[in-house]
């Protein structure tokens, strides 16, 4: 699974992209966040407050409790601020 990070999540984690295979028990973005947070350091800081995290699965906005399914690409980022 390819995981992308944008804006301050990217900065706190220290990279914009990584490949990661979560345990089979991880079936939602929220569970993936919990799993990544356990790595501590930048991950713990980036994912400290779930209320500020949004995600996209396969380049579509999804709630944190959506099924990950067989997603090849998931992205985490703060609420968008373009325009």
């Amino acid at each position: 699974m390819r995981i992308l990070y944008f804006a301050w999540l990217r900065e706190k984690i220290g990279q914009g992209e990584e490949v990661f295979t979560p345990p089979a028990s991880v079936t939602t973005p929220r569970q993936l966040i919990a799993c990544l947070r356990q790595r501590g350091g930048g991950y713990a800081a980036a994912f400290a407050n779930e209320a500020l995290i949004r995600c996209a699965i396969g380049q579509e906005f999804q709630p944190l409790d959506a099924p990950l399914g067989a997603a090849g690409e998931i992205a985490f980022f703060p609420p968008v601020t373009g325009g």
């Binding site: 968008v80 601020t81 325009g83």
Partner: protein, 148 residues
């Protein structure tokens, strides 16, 4: 006619609006510009980051939604990325229609939706060297939802 672009470079508003005006009665547009200050402090620049691939899809979807809702003859969305200084253009949303009400409403709709549903993020760089990521505004959520 639909044109979607995400690019570091500036756009030529004259050319974009002229391209939309063929066979239309009117062309409405909105251009977002980097302000000279934020929260009372002098701004040196904005840095704009986006999610390549997803951004273009999100903007295409917004254009489709506007075309379904209003009778448009054209729709253009150009959003810049990278480092932009005060006075520079950030975004152009423009639509054309036979009757002005469609273009005026569709343009307001598109910029309101873009603010909350296209994956762009802004960081503000201040004159004193500090920088921070802009937080999403409640008022933008409210404006976007008002169209539902």
């Amino acid at each position: 006619m639909r044109k979607i672009a995400v690019q570091p470079g500036d756009f030529d508003a004259n050319a974009e609006l002229a391209a939309l005006s063929a066979n239309a009665g009117g062309v409405a547009s909105f251009i977002g510009v980097v302000r000279g200050d934020a929260g009372g402090r002098a701004l040196a620049a904005l840095r704009l980051e986006h999610y390549p691939g997803m951004t273009e899809k999100a903007l295409e979807r917004l254009a489709e939604a506007a075309e379904a809702r209003w009778a448009l003859s054209g729709c253009t969305i150009i959003h810049r990325i990278g480092r932009l200084t005060p006075g520079q253009n950030i975004v152009l949303v423009a639509t054309s229609s036979r009757h002005r009400a469609d273009a005026l409403a569709a343009t307001a709709y598109l910029i309101d939706q873009l603010k909350t549903s296209a994956p762009f993020w802004k960081a503000e760089e201040f004159a004193d060297g500090t920088a921070h990521w802009v937080e999403a505004r409640e008022s933008d959520e409210t404006a976007a939802k008002a169209w539902l």
